[in-house]
Every structure is written in C-alpha cells, then in structure tokens.
C-alpha cells in the first residue's frame, strides 16, 4: 500500500465501539437494509451489497436511510418482528468481516420529500389524502416544523407536526434502536440535522415558526433531535453509539436557491456562528459522532456534489466545527482519500465519509490496500443511476417509478444493487463478436463479452478510444470523466482485447463473414435544423470542446442554441474557467429541462448561470445566423446579438450503421440518445445474452 493512505487504516472509537479504520461508507438512499420507500422488510439485495462493502474493508457502513415510520403501509420500524429475526444472523455474518454497521434512522423528509405528480395531487387534497392515508399519508410524510413550501411541488405546503406526533416519533426512535441493538447492530445514525431534512427544518430558524417548545431559541429548535438521542440512550442503553448526520452550514440563499462554492451571500439556513453553538448542544444531548457536510435540498449540490463542485468541498467547514466539540467527526462531500488521510494524520479530522465511490467500484478499498489505485473505476458524480431525482420549472419530481423504487444503483457499474439482474455468467458457446465503435458503449460491451469468454474485436474509426465521451469529458471540471476514459483504455489493454484503430465500418456486410455476432455502437451525430437561416455556420461541441476552440482567444461571445445539459456545462466552463461570455437560448421554460438528470446537478447549473449573470433567453429560439451575429426570437420580440460563434446545442440523433437484423445488436446512443447509464446498462443487457 502507498504510505500516504496509511492514516486511513488506523482504528478509532465512537462511544465504546472501535471502528477498525477511518473509512465510513456514507448512507445512500436505496441501499437501505430494510427497503427504501416500500413497507419495511429485510432487503436481501441491500444486505448483499453492504456485506460486500464490509468485506472490501470499509470500517463503518451506514446503509441507506430508514424512515422511522414506513412511507408505504405506515407501520413503525420497530413493529416488524420478522425483519429483526432475519437481521440477527445477518449481523453475525457481517461481524465476521471485522467491520461495523450503524443503521441510519430518519425523522422524515418534511418539505424536502421528493413528491411525484400523483403524491402532490394527493397531498393537496385533504379528502383524497384522508382516503389514501391507511396506505400512504402524503401530508404526514411531508409534515415539517411549520407550514413551509415543498422543495419539489409548487402550491404544496407542509403541514406542521403536532407535539403528540413528535413525541410519538421520539419514542419509536428509542424502541427501534433497542431492537437493532438486540439484533446485533453496532449503533445508529440519526438522520438528520442535515441537508434540510425534517429535523434540519426544525433546527433552521427560517423554516421553523413554532411558538411551542420546539420553536424559537436554538435550544428549542434542536429539541426534537436531542430528545431522539435521549430516547435512544434511555431505551437501548447509554453505551449504544448514536451518530448524527449534520450539515455545518446550509449554504442556502432562500427557498430553492443555493449558493455557489465561491459566493459571498447572506445565509438563509444555518450559518457558521449558529453551527458552532449547535454542535456543542448536540454533543451535550448525547450524540457520540458527527457525520458532517454542508447544504440543504435548496442547495443540494453541497450535499450531493456533482462534477462542477470542487473536491473536498466541505472539508474546511467540517474541520472548523470540530474545534468546538470533543466527539469524533467525519467529513463527506467529494472527499479525496489522499487528502483525507493527510487531514486525519494531522489530527484535523477523525474519519472520511465516502458514498458514491462505493457504488462504482466494489473493491476500491482493497485496491488501495494492494497499491492498485489505477485499477479503481472512478465515480463521475453523474447521479444518473444512484440518485436521479429530477425537476425543472413547473414540475414535481419527475423521476420514473422504476428509479424511485431503486435508488442506489450505479450508472457505471450495473451489478450494484442489482446483482441478480446483472452478472457475469461464463458462456458455454464462445463467439467472435465485432464491435463497431470504440466509445463507452463499445468498450463496456467488449469488457463484458471478454469476461464471459467471448472474443470481442473493436473497430474504431479514429486513432483513439473514447468516442463521444472524449468531447463530453473535455471540459475543465470533468477530471473524473477523463479518468474514466483512461480506466477503460487500461482495462481494454489489460484484458487483451483487440482494437482495430482507424478502421471505419460503414457496411456491416464487410465484416459479417468473420464474426458470429455484431454489436453496433456508433453513437450519435448533432441534430440539424436547416430551417434556421445560416444554420450551417453553427459550431458543434466536438469543435468547441474536444478540438479546443473554447480556448481560441478570438472566441469571446458564444451563443448556445439550446439550453440542455451539454450547453449549460460548456457555458459554465466558458464563464467560470475561461472568463468568456456565453449566452444561452432555450426553447423550453427552463434550462436542462430533462427527466434523467439529478436536481443536484441541474440546480447547480441553473444557479451558476444566475450567479455569473449569463444571459438566458427562455421560450426563445434563433431564427438567423450570420457572420458575427445571430437573431434571437424571444417572447418580447427579436434581438440582434453580436457573437463570435453559435454552438449547436439542440441535441443529437442516433447514427447506427446497418439495419436491424439477426445477430446484429445496437448499443448506446445509436439506439436512442441517453447518458452513460443507458449506454452501459444496455451494453450489459445485450452482452449478457450473447
């Protein structure tokens, strides 16, 4: 092992429990040991995933959050005796790894509940909500400290919890912790005075207008969280460790408005001064460990940092708050293991909390121990498989039902949390498979086929593997995307897969004879709109990003035709890193108005455009492109905009080679335009069955 990682592999204590090393797997929704939003049960898929993490060497695993009362069916978590009976032998097995496991118990979502359209419809109508309440009570699930606006749905406010409801919940936290301890669980984490969840809504003055014992002073606002730890200590024992998920600062400017990492702003939520007092009160109440980061649902990119956020984005704040307490503290949020090890060695931090990397590579800890860091598949913070709650102006949470039910999967690693669906089964009938296209779809297909015992051969028309992802990863802040391409290249080489570079296949017939199966992974091409006068003058993303035109000093003002993710990312790179003047023209009512991208990612881009004062024209289009100008048609009339280039950001269209026929399969964007998740999962779907 590289010496710089050594501080990560030293033990530390939470209460009286020794954690074998400093690596904490942060809780991720969906990896919940008792199921996600469905009626609680012992979830064998999550159990398998969590056990593998412990076997890999994670010191402390925190399964996905577990709401103390089921959202579906409304049973309290402590009422399911059958589930605890199944838990006991699992914990015996788990402890053989030497790792520890704390269950994260949640006080609910409050106004942060990612309500879908049907939930919002129920919640807005008292009669419908009452009728549905034996199964799902949306108003209860969204209840908060006070009447506050839902993060996701317009015209839908949370109702305040009654004191009786709060105290009932407090008791059940204690009762559940007792049952967990009896089943062999090592501790619990309370979720959360963090991220703007329910207990955080009680703690934040601007979200809590109560006049009873749970509102007003900081002590009162933290009373709910503090009564929970006291109930747990009373029922489960003083020596049963209780961690708290905690946001040091909210980094929130107002309802649905986050602050950029480099922005000076007036804090709407919890500021550092209040946090310094709050952590002391929480420690005094009985919490044994603080698992920290920053943010709220309104500034979601702090708690779930996408690729645009800097690495270790919460570290400075977390280290600051640690000075005010004696209990150990972990830091989460794009943490680099090397940096974390340095901070732990220097005594500024006790543990590092890492989440999504655990989904991408099931052996990343073992690989560090073995000195094989270059074999770790990097997380690119896309959130496409694990956490794709999506929203844009005027919508609720528009995530698909299948995704709502299965968070915690991984775009890059399909077997994560679906190990029965995606698995490598050696073939009994080895075949020679031609793969046309050396992008991510082609490379993933080749790796899966090779592992199964087939012989794949990649035909790549250029001299480099990576395909369209070379363009997508060209932006300054996409260092993890670039690492992913490098990882693929190394894996292809290591697996001994034949790649025929500079070989374009335009006719499947030319290669049919030598191969049993053909996979077409030829990607997509930019969509064209010849009805726009001068459209042929537009620049495509490949020229702008991959070919480096973005760095051309003559290119100062650039108009993006289309406000999708690619345009917004490029515009952000231009304005923030290249100090240029992007302008975005979008036909729809919002930027990145798409179902597949997580709100943590899209809200960053929207907030960034606003902060950097990037001109954004919604409900608008370009009607003419000339030399040095374009005409933008807005709802208020036409504007002549001087510019150095217009970038075609209206999307892509599939570009498959050949027809659909027997033994010819399509993978990736040549099927339908998607993202890395659709590309990689499809590659597995096809290649597992060849």
């Amino acid at each position: 092992m590289n010496k710089q990682y050594e501080p990560l592999f030293t033990p530390f204590k939470i209460c009286d429990v020794e954690i074998p090393n400093r690596i904490v797997q942060c809780s991720m929704g969906g990896t919940s040991l008792f199921g996600w939003l469905e009626p609680s049960h012992f979830d064998t898929e999550a159990a398998d995933f969590l056990l593998k993490r412990a076997k890999d060497g994670v010191g402390l695993v925190l399964p996905g959050m577990q709401v103390i009362r089921d959202t579906m069916g409304r049973k309290w978590l402590d009422q399911n005796r059958y589930m605890y009976r199944q838990l006991k032998p699992y914990m015996d097995e788990y402890h053989k790894t030497g790792g520890k496991l704390f269950i994260q118990l949640a006080g609910g979502f409050g106004r942060s509940m990612a309500v879908t359209p049907w939930m919002a419809a129920l919640g807005r109508n008292n009669l419908l909500n009452k009728l549905a309440s034996p199964i799902v009570d949306v108003q209860y699930s969204c209840a908060s400290a006070s009447e506050t606006p839902n993060r996701w749905a317009d015209n839908f406010d949370s109702r305040p919890f009654t004191v009786e409801e709060i105290q009932e919940m407090v008791w059940h936290f204690g009762a559940t912790a007792k049952k967990l301890r009896e089943a062999g669980v090592d501790g619990v984490e309370i979720h959360a005075v963090h991220e703007g969840y329910n207990l955080d809504q009680f703690a934040i003055a601007n979200m809590n207008f109560r006049t009873d014992q749970y509102g007003g002073s900081l002590e009162n606002r933290l009373r709910f969280a503090n009564e929970i730890v006291q109930s747990i200590k009373e029922q489960a024992g003083d020596d049963f460790p209780v961690s708290l998920r905690y946001s040091v600062r909210s980094c929130t400017k107002g309802w649905r408005k986050g602050a950029m990492p480099y922005e000076e702003f007036e804090e709407f939520g919890r500021d550092m001064a209040e946090s310094e007092k709050a952590v002391k009160l929480l420690q005094d109440a009985g919490y044994d460990f603080l698992n920290c980061d920053n943010g709220t649902y309104d500034a979601w990119y702090w708690a779930h940092p996408p690729q645009y956020m800097p690495d270790n984005c919460n570290l400075e704040d977390v280290e600051h708050i640690r000075k005010f307490i004696d209990i150990p503290v972990a830091c989460a949020g794009r943490m680099e293991p090397v940096k974390a090890a340095e901070e732990i060695a220097a005594g500024r931090l006790d543990a590092v909390a890492i989440a999504r990397q655990n989904l991408v590579d099931e052996n990343w800890v073992s690989k560090i121990k073995a000195g094989k860091e270059d074999e770790i598949r990097p997380c690119i913070r896309c959130h496409n498989g694990c956490f794709n709650f999506a929203k844009f102006e005027g919508t609720e949470n528009i995530q698909s039902l299948g995704d709502s039910l299965h968070l915690g999967r991984c775009a890059l690693n399909p077997p994560t949390m679906q190990h029965k669906r995606y698995k490598i089964v050696p073939t009994r009938n080895p075949k020679k498979v031609a793969i046309i296209g050396g992008g991510v779809g082609g490379m993933e297909s080749a790796l899966v086929l090779k592992q199964r015992g087939h012989t794949p051969v990649i035909f790549e028309k250029t001299g480099e593997l990576g395909g369209l992802f070379l363009t997508a990863s060209a932006m300054t802040f996409k260092e993890h995307d670039k690492q992913l391409i490098d990882w693929y290249k190394r894996e292809i080489e290591k697996a001994g897969i034949e790649v025929r570079f500079n070989t374009e296949v335009n006719d499947i017939g030319t290669i049919k004879r030598g191969f049993d199966e053909i996979i077409v992974a030829t990607g997509s091409v930019p969509r064209k709109m010849p009805q726009i006068k001068g459209f042929e003058k537009t620049m495509d993303f490949e020229t702008l990003l991959k070919d480096g035109e973005i760095d051309n000093p003559k290119l100062k003002t650039v108009v993006f035709l289309g406000g999708g993710q690619s345009s917004c990312e490029a515009a952000y790179d231009m304005v923030y890193n290249k100090k240029k003047n992007p302008i975005v023209v979008e036909y729809g009512n919002d930027l990145v108005a798409a179902q597949a991208t997580c709100l943590a990612n899209t809200s960053f881009l929207r907030d960034a455009m606003e902060y950097h004062k990037v001109p954004v024209y919604l409900h608008s289009t370009i009607t003419e492109i000339g030399d040095g100008y374009c005409i933008i048609k807005t709802p208020d009339g036409e504007i002549r905009q001087e510019c150095d280039a217009v970038v075609n950001g209206i999307g892509f269209v599939p570009a498959p080679v050949g027809d659909k026929e027997a033994h010819v399969h399509r993978v990736g964007d040549c099927v339908a335009i998607g993202n890395l998740r659709t590309v990689i999962w499809r590659a597995w779907d096809i290649c597992m069955r060849i």
Binding site: K75, Y82, L401, L405, I686
Partner: protein
C-alpha cells in the same frame, strides 16, 4: 381424494412454471429472444415486468411484517 387431486394439480402447475422460468433464463433461450431484431421489445417488457414485480411485493412485505 379431492384434496390430493388439488395438491397434485398445484404441484404440477408449480413445477411446470418453475421449469418454464428456468428455461426462459437459460443461455439458449435468452440468446434466441435477444437475436438482434427484437432486443428493444424484449428489454422493455422485462423492465415493465420488474416494476410490476416490485409493486406486487409491497403487500407481501406488509403481511410479513405482521408475522409474530
């Protein structure tokens, strides 16, 4: 007599169902189904079946929770 007939029928149906499921999962059938032309249709149907299975699982979880 009647009861044993019912049990025999249930066992037969279960057995045939089990064998059919195993057959569907086999390499040979899967590669036939995904022959190239109908990849999209088969994958879409499977996705829908999975979601349906998830939802059908909810009442089972709920009833199991009531067990002593």
């Amino acid at each position: 007599m009647k009861r044993s007939k019912v049990l025999f029928t249930v066992a037969c149906v279960g057995g045939v169902g089990y064998l059919a499921a195993r057959l569907l999962q086999s390499d040979a059938v899967q590669s036939k189904l995904m022959g190239g032309k109908y990849d999209d249709t088969v994958l879409n149907l499977m996705e829908k079946a999975r979601t349906l299975g998830d939802i059908l699982g909810w009442p089972i979880h709920f009833v199991r929770a009531l067990l002593p």
